[in-house]
């Protein structure tokens, strides 16, 4: 399994043709206390860059984009009851949704962990 990162502070784990998407530790720190996550419906299809989810912190609402194109096969229902999971465990239990990858070539432009760390350090 490979983990990719975007400059919009999302992470993507790819296993076979399924990609799990969440936001990074850096993103949750920037957002602050998360009080609500609006997740996509199963079966929804997105093009890369579409609005896929919304995360609401105490102070603001933020869009989460589909980092690659695909069809939603599962959303993380645990976030409905416990949105703060995104704060406490953003890169594991606080995942947002799983996509069936439409075009694996879209992964090519994404960062690996070392590149993302470097990117965050430059901000």
């Amino acid at each position: 399994m490979s983990r990719y990162f975007t400059d919009e502070h999302e992470w993507i784990d790819v296993a076979g043709d399924i990609a799990t998407v969440g936001i990074t530790e850096y993103a949750q720190e920037q957002l602050g206390d998360i009080v609500f996550v609006e997740l996509p419906d199963e079966g929804a299809t997105f093009d890369k860059g579409d609005d896929a989810a919304v995360v609401e912190s105490v102070k603001a609402a933020s869009d989460v984009y589909a980092p690659i194109s695909g069809e939603v096969v599962e959303a993380n229902g645990a976030l409905e009851d416990e949105p703060a999971l995104v704060n406490s465990d953003p890169e594991e239990d606080g995942w947002f949704f799983k996509l069936r990858v439409a075009d694996t070539s879209e992964l090519e432009g994404l960062m690996d962990e070392a590149a993302y760390k470097k990117f965050v350090a430059s901000l």
Binding site: E8, H9, E10, I23, A27, Q30, L31, G32, D33, V35, F36, E38, V54, V55, E56, S57, V58, K59, A60, A61, S62, D63, V64, Y65, P83
Partner: protein
């Protein structure tokens, strides 16, 4: 992912200014954002934790961006009664009132605190006023335009302003300034801390007991340090200040109040006493009379929201298919444990309990008009 911060600089073309406590905030781990032309701390450890701390203990807020104005000279009371709808002549020494700046049409230009330092106890001023940070330069221009030559206005730009708020604020401040224990809500006085002159009122904008402390900017860091050395006190950012004031039902200028709305419709008629309503003689009086006699088309109301999805500023409010209002402040309320909002709703739908719907990202969520405050005020009143 894009974070749409709702605290944006109002004067984006101007470079941001720094507050006297800038270095201190950063050293304490604050995240700084642009607000009202200044770099200000939005949070230290997190809005939820800071909100909760203030409701249980005491939080120290830096509100030095606000405008502090001193007035003196012959006829100052009469001059200010021409500008403010409050009873200034009847304002006793060491007492403070909430007031408003109204324009010619009775629209709200700002909301403010006005007090009378006794015996020139604060910088020789006969009257002391605190106005909002984002509006202060407009306020100053407006006031100067309407002030007679005999009355002098001094913008106390070198003074910092700190607010200490929460149920333990009284006990905390009394450990370093015992005399402050004698102040009740909306009373004020001059104090001395290690040779530094302080002007302190027992007031604030969180719904809790607390104080607002004016201090020379160059002494602010040492004083903030002394307060935060007390076990009850932690520094609190603007984020929690906003969620606290929303729960307290207190309007925020530029969001819940603006020049389109009048004082009575805004639910702020309490700031205009009987004598001033009857005699008039202040800018904007006609609208006050009209709204008192005929009511207003819309009213500022509180809104409770079903579910967990917050409704934010700008969200439209519906009664069935009819658009009846708009959210002007909204978010998750940590003490309530649910989203709440404040907004303007047309008068037939503004009664407490009226079921309404708010549209958020194309979805309707159920809401109801609620009595404010959402969290009871706990002021240290003389009668209590």
């Amino acid at each position: 992912m894009t974070v749409t911060d709702d605290v944006v600089p109002l004067e984006e073309e101007l470079p941001l200014e720094k507050l006297p406590l800038d270095r201190w905030h950063r050293a304490r781990g604050a995240r700084m954002v642009a607000f009202a032309g200044y770099e200000m701390p939005i949070q230290y450890e997190g809005i939820m934790a800071e909100h909760g701390w203030t409701r249980e203990h005491a939080g120290l807020f830096d509100v030095s961006h606000m405008g502090q104005l001193g007035f003196s000279g012959e006829g100052v009371d009469a001059a200010l009664e021409a500008i403010l709808p409050s009873d200034i002549r009847g304002l006793k020494p060491f007492r403070q009132r909430y007031s408003l700046l109204l324009d010619e049409e009775g629209g709200i230009l700002d909301d403010l605190m006005v007090s009378r330092p006794g015996d020139g106890a604060f910088d020789g001023a006969a009257i002391y006023m605190v106005v909002n940070g984002a509006t202060k330069y407009d306020d100053i221009a407006w006031i100067i335009e309407h002030l007679p030559d005999e009355v002098v206005m001094n913008h106390m730009a070198d003074q910092a302003l700190l607010a200490l708020q929460g149920p333990e604020a009284g006990a905390a401040l009394a450990t370093i300034l015992p005399g402050t224990a004698d102040l009740f809500f909306m009373q004020c006085g001059a104090f001395d801390w290690q040779g530094v002159p302080l002007w302190i009122s027992r007031s604030g904008y969180t719904g809790e007991d607390g104080f607002e402390i004016s201090i020379p900017g160059d002494a602010a860091e040492a004083f903030a340090e002394a307060l935060c050395a007390l076990p009850q006190v932690k520094p609190i950012g603007l984020g929690a200040r906003d969620s606290l004031r929303l729960e307290a039902g207190l309007p925020l200028y530029g969001h819940d109040l603006d020049p389109r709305v009048g004082a009575v419709a805004a639910g702020l008629g309490f700031a205009i006493p009987k004598r001033r309503r009857e005699e008039g003689g202040f800018i904007g009086h006609a609208r006050v009379l009209r709204e008192l006699a005929d009511g207003a088309g819309s009213r500022r109301v509180g809104l409770t929201i079903e579910g967990r999805l917050p409704a934010r500023e700008g969200a439209p409010i519906y009664a069935g298919d009819a658009l009846v209002g708009e959210v002007t402040s909204g978010g998750f309320a940590p003490t309530v444990g649910a989203p709440i909002a404040m907004g303007w709703v047309s008068t037939p739908h503004a009664g407490v309990g009226t079921p309404l719907e708010i549209e958020v990202r194309g979805k309707r969520i159920a809401a109801a008009v609620a009595a404010m405050p959402f969290v009871p005020h706990r002021y240290h009143r003389q009668t209590s």
